[in-house]
């Protein structure tokens, strides 16, 4: 079956394209991207005035299955992904049980095969039960197809355990994703340490707790020549350390989440638990550093860190509420609103950060509109404004920090392997 998308502004940074083009899809693959394609197609989409780009690749998603299907499932999470324009995602292994053995990977793959609406890739745990003590069988995890290992949600405190993980990761050619947090510093903190924690009378999370661990992991990665990825960077000091390491040739990539360039710690002042995440929202100067780092290429990736939680875990006292926010359904719009519309990033750069770069970091053949590739494509109305509303979220959980905010840019359609899987 052939599908022809006509007259859109096609932005495909990998192939250096940003012009009005047609896209022809056949048998789930991209056949041709060219001007005014004359072809017989079963379905033709008129996409004038729209932007067509490769589907987003979100390398930081908590799908919660198995174990916490009350928060999210593979079905609900991947439906939310499709709505948000995410056609590929990396599922974090902090499920219950954790994805810490080849058997668990096989089990998860079965559910994914049956239930997922988009491409779901798997990250395995670094340590058994994510307890930071015993390494998992990293080679076996890789053999079952995990694209990375991470104890995300926790940092591996024991330096020698992390060093060994990096060493094996390097040997196996497997990416290690680092959740950088020194818990002995962040302790029971719940908001950014400083004026915010003082004003609110809450325990603070220092920036040191993040960047000192970033520094450690960069040092270990340099020594072990491992390929690492720093997850959810939130502050200027981490950015500076990563920039320096990149200059020295350390094989590091870095990621931030939409809330770290759009919301500052002031958003927390009303004790809204949907503004509570880890690392916490930081100061305005950190916000500016994160945006600049995306522009400069110090931070490579914008991923959602989609972290669904139920109402009963969020609608409680601030200090007791769970950390984390959902993001799959808003991330593209937040990127457009706060980065493209403000002139900080070009469209092409935004697409690199949300699609091409994460695909390259994960080593998957996604994030481009190259003929022969799977036709994972999204069609976006770039100027259309909307307000995120609780009732509209497809995710099982509703803990979005953007509820009630005006955003720009709407995903009109999501195409996965040539099939329209979501249409607004």
């Amino acid at each position: 079956m052939k599908l022809l998308i006509k007259g859109a502004r096609v932005i495909d940074p990998v192939n250096g394209k940003d012009e009005i083009l047609d896209v022809l899809i056949d048998a789930g693959k991209i056949l041709k991207v060219d001007k005014k394609i004359q072809a017989q197609a079963e379905e033709v989409i008129d996409a004038q005035g729209k932007i067509v780009m490769p589907g987003l690749v979100d390398m930081h998603v908590h799908l919660r299955e198995p174990g916490r299907e009350d928060k999210e499932t593979i079905v609900s999470g991947t439906k939310a992904a499709a709505k948000g324009g995410v056609t590929s995602l990396l599922a974090m292994p902090n499920t219950n049980p954790a994805i810490d053995s080849p058997e668990r990977v096989i089990g998860l793959k079965k559910i994914i095969k049956q239930d997922s609406r988009v491409n779901v890739f798997i990250a395995g745990a670094i340590t058994t039960g994510r307890l930071g003590r015993e390494l998992t069988d990293i080679a076996a995890l890789k053999k079952e197809g995990t694209l990375a290992i991470t104890d995300d949600g926790s940092s591996v405190d024991d330096e020698e355990v992390m060093r060994k993980a990096f060493r094996i990761g390097a040997k196996e050619g497997l990416l290690v994703i680092c959740h950088c947090e020194d818990k002995s510093l962040s302790k029971e903190g719940v908001v950014n340490l400083g004026f915010t924690s003082t004003r609110m009378g809450l325990r603070g999370i220092s920036k040191e707790s993040e960047y000192l661990r970033v520094a450690r992991d960069l040092r270990l990665a340099a020594q072990e020549e491992a390929r690492i990825h720093i997850a959810h960077v939130s502050c200027r000091e981490s950015v500076e350390l990563i920039a320096e390491a990149k200059k020295k040739g350390v094989k590091v990539s870095a990621e931030t989440a939409p809330h770290y360039f759009s919301l500052s710690e002031e958003a927390v002042l009303g004790f809204d638990t949907n503004m509570k995440m880890n690392p916490p929202l930081r100061g305005k100067s950190d916000l500016a550093s994160i945006a600049q780092a995306l522009k400069d290429g110090v931070i490579d990736v914008i991923s959602s860190d989609h972290a669904p939680h139920t109402e009963s875990e969020k609608d409680i006292e601030f200090e007791r509420a769970e950390f984390g926010v959902i993001g799959l359904e808003t991330e593209l719009s937040v990127g457009i609103t706060y980065l493209v519309d403000t002139g900080i990033l070009s469209w092409s750069r935004l697409i690199e950060c949300m699609s091409s770069f994460p695909a390259r970091i994960l080593g998957i053949n996604k994030g481009a509109l190259t003929p022969g590739q799977d036709a994972d494509i999204i069609i976006v109305s770039p100027e259309k404004g909307w307000v995120a509303e609780r009732k509209d979220f497809i995710s099982k959980s509703k803990n979005s920090p953007f509820t009630g905010r005006k955003l720009k840019g709407v995903v009109e359609a999501t195409i996965l392997k040539g099939q329209v899987i979501y249409k607004r």
Partner: protein
Amino acid sequence: MIWYRKDLLGLEELSREEIEVILSTAESFKEVSTREIKKVPALRGKTVVNLFYEPSTRTRISFEVAAKRLSADVINVGVDVSSVKKGETLIDTGRNIEALKADIIIVRHSASGAAAMLAKHVSVNVINAGDGWHEHPTQALLDILTLKEKTGKIKGLCVCIVGDIGHSRVARSNIWGLTKLGARVKVCAPKMLIPAEIEKMGVEVVNSIEEGLVGADAVNVLRMQFERDEKTAFPQQLEYFKNYGITKERLEKASKNIIVMHPGPINRGIEMSSEVADGENSVILEQVTNGIAARMAVLFLVSQAKDKDEIVN
């Protein structure tokens, strides 16, 4: 001035004018407590619930007396008798109280932001009687009322707050209230008890008691909670008294007329000597008396709160 706030959650969110309205309302309610029949009908037929998740005698009794002098019916819900221990959430409890057709909930809770959370989920009036380390607005109001009574003004006064600033809701509410009214505020404590970036609240930080007291018109001495289960460093009791305890000698050196305040209950011989607590500079019992007027004012104002939209339309 028309009062619009349905809740009193903290002094940070109040304007100078709003604080002044509460103070002048309190001043006019003071007289009620001196009458032979200490009652006015302002809240007759209203039900006030004291919902206390932390042990408190003074604040609870003060609110109870204040509500009763306004002719309200008062129900006390303590942590031991409520269903909280069965796992009922604060929001559920609040909604249940609302369903009983109560009019005002006064809440004391160990979590910062608890009063704000409750207020978001119920339509009855919510008064914060202390939430975690965050705010204790009626305490600050009664402190300010007492200061104003003693000195005739707040603007231009210099007030030193001594003690565990980091863990003190009394300190935070006092800082917001006093600075909004134009007072100069110093906070004085060992470094470990000063929270990060507190100078952004508009205060001066001093680490020695001598610096704290010099030039101060009043000193507000916080209760040191040595029983606090904190893993962070904490000074020893005797060492604290030696370095920060308010003694007659220290006061004499600073200023003869300095006003000494304490939110109670006092640890005699730790924050201040007995001599000072019972001495002529102390206004501690007057604070207790003023607490009733300040709380009557708050109860009265929130119960009269007008809906802004209604007025516009």
